[in-house]
């Protein structure tokens, strides 16, 4: 609930409850939906990352590495650029969810049951590049150059100027994704023993995969449709909490969701507070911070493997 308009905390809180005057509009119509969206989307991304890591038994898994947000973005841009639907209709989130479903489902199929990290990352890279190319193609041939520009900016990932309508469109999908992902938490714990042992303990692997793929697609698709692509929260949030709650993949889920909320709120407050002519895009900030963290984690993994060998 912080922003460039100079409001003291007390004035902001007063405005939130009264809704009076200019301060009321700033807090209730601009800051409140944005903050709530950041909280919900951050939680979804953190939870999606934790779930994919649990399913694939790898701490480097994250929706963006599988091209989920990219595919969601491609599908949603297609609808917006050609369908002339306003960004607040249901068409964009549904297209986004379909795109994410295709990419995450495709990855799980391509990478198969026992895929190594290398295969998963390469398949994810291929899907992400393909989705990126599809988006570029859509922008390239978009009938209206203004819409193309608008879509290009939206793709960078931002919570700027999001209204309560955006929140109402995305929230049901986000909450549905939480429910699906929470149902799989216990299976991830058994999956630490590998798929065969987990199956022998009574885990239904097909159902678990299906729930994770659908849950991630619902959450990431809806998040991308209202906020563009915001990467690396899903990677960093579980990583941060694992140091404190341990590696039990079921126990990581809730803290990862909370950490995702905290990270995205912090990133969004940061872009609002940095003075600049064009507001920085939050997706740009999370990527700028997330990529170095990701690289550090890869090197950490490598050291672990070497010391284990």
């Amino acid at each position: 609930m912080v922003g460039p308009a100079g409001l003291s905390p007390r004035a902001a809180i007063a405005a939130l409850f009264s809704g009076d005057g200019a301060a009321g509009i700033v807090v209730r119509d601009i800051r409140l939906p944005r903050t709530l969206l950041a909280a919900l989307i951050g939680a979804t991304l953190g939870l999606s990352g934790a779930a994919l890591q649990g399913l694939l038994r790898n701490p480097l898994a994250e929706p963006a590495l599988f091209g989920a947000p990219q595919a969601a973005a491609a599908a949603a841009s297609f609808v917006i650029a050609f369908g002339f639907v306003p960004a607040t209709s249901l068409a964009a989130p549904i297209a986004g969810i379909a795109g994410a479903l295709l990419s995450v489902g495709g990855l799980v199929v391509v990478a198969g049951a026992r895929a190594s990290l290398t295969v998963i990352l390469l398949a994810g890279l291929a899907l992400a590049s393909f989705a990126g190319a599809a988006t570029a193609l859509i922008l390239n041939v978009a009938p209206n150059p203004f819409i193309a520009l608008e879509v290009a900016f939206w793709l960078l990932g931002s919570l700027e100027d999001r209204s309560i309508e955006h929140l109402l469109i995305a929230a049901p999908f986000l909450v549905a994704s939480w429910i699906l992902l929470a149902m799989t938490a216990r299976a991830f714990r058994a999956l630490t023993l590998g798929e065969d042992a987990a199956a022998s303990l009574g885990v239904d692997l097909v159902r678990t995969r299906l729930l994770v793929v659908t849950g991630v697609a619902l959450g990431v698709g809806a998040a991308v449709a209202v906020a563009g692509s915001i990467g690396f929260i899903g990677l960093v949030a579980p990583h941060l909490v694992r140091r404190h709650v341990g590696s039990d993949p079921a126990r990581v889920m809730l803290p990862a969701a909370l950490a995702g909320t905290a990270l995205l709120l912090a990133a969004d407050i940061a872009v609002r507070s940095v003075p600049s002519a064009n507001e920085l895009k939050v997706g740009v900030v999370t990527a700028l911070i997330g990529v170095p963290v990701f690289l550090t984690m890869i090197f950490g993994e490598k050291r672990l493997e070497e010391s284990a060998a």
């Binding site: 023993l193 042992a197 009574g202 590696s247």
Partner: protein, 257 residues
Amino acid sequence: MSAILRADDISVSLGARRIVERARVKLRRGELAVLIGPNGAGKTTLIRALAGLLPAQGRIALEDKPLSHFDPRERARRIAYLPQGNTFHWPMTVAAVVALGRYPHGDPFASPTEEDKTAVCDALAATATTPFSERPVTALSGGERARVALARALATRAPVLLADEPIVSLDARHQLVVMNVLRDTARKGAAVLAVLHDLALAARFADHVLLMQDGQIVTQGEVKDVLTETRIAQVFGVAAQMTETGGARVPLPYRAL
């Protein structure tokens, strides 16, 4: 006594390849059965099919009911399966890993019962893993990990235990420790089937031996009838000398034929 888990002429194919051909297996409570055979004979495929993890042609019956009629959790409470490799993907504590053996018993939202706790404690004690129960499992040596994996399977307290090469990475002492655990588990009333490569340990511990070659069980029965010099030469392609060890006639392979 009738068999708790029995397979009548089951065949298993992976893709187009027939891996197991008309295998007949009966596992009885109180008995330690050992499945031996050269690499690629189909031992792992057979044991996975018996665990209900692979579709098989033919009839597999658990407690006289078709195995496929059990839902996965009901089956998991009755058949504990220890796969090869002792995989642990996350650095969870040993106690948490062993507690996974209680997975099929638990209500997802309930905390562990007294029975769960006793089963985990007993499994840790039986495998001599209690001293490092609070350490991350990924920090253990290969032999320690193998015992933790076995403890996890024991913690289920299933009446059937299927163990695929449970002693493969263990030193001599811990091989004996684990074989004793498997025998004790059988003596306490479980039906145990272990895949082994060590002919001597198979001869010393098995109540029943199944000898597998090229997807078929070529012979099965008591140790003295199955593990003969002739059979061992035929199936493994090695000359073995029979020695007396601990009151048992034990084959000692000494030359490849």
